[in-house]
């Protein structure tokens, strides 16, 4: 249920992201989903990839600052109010969202990667409300 997300510190420098995607291609690593948080000087690339351990190792060998962060992936209906319902549950239970990003797989469902201040509590309340969470093995294979 807990998904291992790769976070990479990136300087705002032309070509730096391209270097990274090149390394992933070289090692046949697919990106299931990603987002970039950017500031003036640097960015943080967050991504879910097929082989997180391998990706972490090869990127580190190439001098990238990499960190593995645990996240969850909620599956919500791909229609108005789908995301709202999930977020309502979290805020009703006092759970704060650190960041999130989404991707759709085209089957009427939307997938929302989410990091909160407490993952165990998040799992607990979402399951209580019968919200579906994606299995780690499934998302790595997307």
């Amino acid at each position: 249920m807990i998904i291992r997300q790769l976070s990479v510190f990136l300087e705002n420098r032309t070509g730096r992201l391209t270097e990274l995607t090149g390394i992933l291609e070289e090692h046949d690593i697919n990106i299931s989903s990603f987002s970039i948080a950017d500031t003036t000087d640097f960015g943080i690339l967050r991504m879910i990839v097929g082989k997180p351990e391998l990706a972490e190792r090869v990127l580190r060998e190439k001098g990238f600052s990499v960190k593995i962060t645990d996240v969850l992936c909620m599956i919500v209906p791909h229609k108005p109010g789908g995301l709202h319902r999930a977020l309502q549950i979290l805020s009703d239970n006092g759970i704060a969202v650190d960041y999130m990003y989404a991707f759709a797989t085209g089957d009427g469902l939307a997938n929302v990667v989410i990091r909160t201040d407490s993952l165990p509590k998040t799992i607990e309340v979402l399951q209580l409300h019968k919200m579906e969470l994606m299995q780690a093995g499934d998302i790595y294979q997307i």
Partner: protein, 433 residues
């Protein structure tokens, strides 16, 4: 261990008498052999006979780096070329390089002071010393080399750079002592971790680090990563090279070999001699040098001298780690900034590495200071707010130390260029515009 107890533990009065006598001879030599000095002394109205004791030193004129440049290459030499057995030269990053020369006796004296210095770090014939200072025109490599042979240590004259080879020999030969710049020592430490070298195979116990300013915080960091005791050695080619002064095991200042190099602290503005304990510019008179005996040479290094008793038994005066060279001092919006102050602040925070770069520029007629800081892998957070918080803490800490706002730029580990010799800490773009 004290290499030369006679000179290193001499009574202060006896030492002053010796210095006076040596000074007298030196002034005679330069008066008759160096036209530049004869003119200078005549202009000041001083004749060799006027100099009797070491107290008379303050009557004599100073020598500056500019004097060396103006008399490039051999104008200040006091012996004919036939008596010179070696040259060294500064890198000359700012203008023409300065050339220094040595007679056979100068080399013997240099060997002696370096032997004394290495003995302070306990180096003996039982040690294997890896000399990773550059060999060549730079005085670091050859300077330490001769002294190390003198104490009987087994020398690996590997010179600077070629990190992989450094680590391999360190491991295979079992080096117990390493001599290099502190910034290169920090880099070697990183490389040991990156190359996943078994730390038990590293037998280093002492490091002889100098040739650039460094801080106590840097010392702690190097000691921790290399597992050795880090000693500070000081010197400059104009005076002799490494071995002008060195820390003993008690590490509260570097003992200056005063029987050869008479130190003074002066006010950089007025040239007036300041008492022990006051901060000012360090000045040296190399009384026993034959080829290039400089009179009251202004080092531009800012420090203090202390004569209080040292538990090691040496009576030699101690100089504090230099605050910085007045050349390295940046004036940013009217505030004096030394790169060493920035280093202190950064190393006090565990998240950052001892690699940083100061970029000074001018925008809309206003000086700007950007400090590039590498973020340690284990402290990299994937949340922007935490990195911004780290940046804010560095900025606040720098502002309170420097009295100046600096822009902090977090950069990827390893992205600041590593130096194999003296580290380049500052890029000043103001003069280029």
């Amino acid at each position: 261990m004290i290499w030369n107890e006679h000179y290193e533990c001499m009574g202060r009065e006896q030492l002053a008498a010796l210095q006076g006598e040596r000074l007298r001879h030196m002034v005679e030599r330069i008066y008759f052999n160096v036209p530049f000095y004869r003119r200078r002394l005549q202009e000041t109205g001083i004749e060799p006979g006027d100099i009797r004791t070491v107290e008379d030193l303050k009557k004599l004129p100073f020598t500056t780096k500019q004097d060396l440049r103006d008399n490039y290459p051999f104008g200040l030499f006091a012996v004919p070329q036939q008596d010179v057995v070696r040259f060294h030269a500064s890198s000359g990053t700012t203008g023409k390089s300065t050339v220094v020369g040595y007679t056979h006796n100068d080399i013997l004296m240099w060997t002696e002071v370096v032997a004394r210095a290495l003995s302070m770090a306990g180096v003996t014939r039982n040690d294997i010393i890896q000399i990773a200072y550059g060999y060549g025109l730079f005085t670091g490599g050859l300077g330490v080399h001769y002294g190390a042979e003198k104490v009987g240590a087994s020398v690996i004259p590997i010179s600077g750079g070629n990190t992989r080879k450094q680590l391999q020999l360190m491991e295979d030969f079992g080096s117990t002592v390493i001599a290099c710049t502190p910034s290169y020592a920090a880099y070697l430490g990183e490389a040991i971790i990156e190359e996943k070298i078994d730390r038990r195979k590293i037998r280093l116990r002492a490091g002889i680090f100098g040739a650039e300013p460094w801080t106590e915080e840097m010392r702690m960091q190097i000691q921790q990563i290399l597992g050795l005791k880090a000693y500070d050695i000081y010197g400059l080619s104009e005076v002799i090279g490494p071995g002008v002064s060195m820390e003993c095991g008690f590490q509260h200042g570097m003992h200056i070999f005063e029987d050869h190099f008479i130190p003074e602290i002066i006010s950089p503005e007025t040239g007036e001699v300041l008492p022990y304990g006051e901060l000012g510019e360090l000045v040296f008179t190399a009384v026993t040098k034959e080829a290039l005996p400089l009179l009251r040479y202004r080092t531009r290094d800012l420090t203090r001298l202390h004569v209080a008793h040292c538990d090691c038994g040496r009576t030699l005066v101690r100089m504090e780690k230099c605050v910085g060279r007045s050349d390295d001092m940046l004036i940013i919006r009217g505030v004096n900034v030394f790169p060493s102050q920035v280093e202190s602040v950064l190393l006090d925070m565990s998240e950052t590495r001892p690699h940083y770069l100061l970029v000074v520029d001018r925008e809309h007629n206003l000086d700007t200071l950007e400090v590039q800081v590498e973020v340690e892998d284990q402290f990299f957070s994937d949340e922007v707010k935490e990195l911004e918080e780290l940046r804010g803490r560095i900025s606040a800490s720098l502002a309170s130390t420097l009295g100046l706002h600096a822009t902090i730029r977090l950069v990827e580990p390893g992205s600041i260029e590593r130096s194999m010799g003296k580290a380049q800490r500052v890029v000043d773009k103001r003069n280029r515009n």
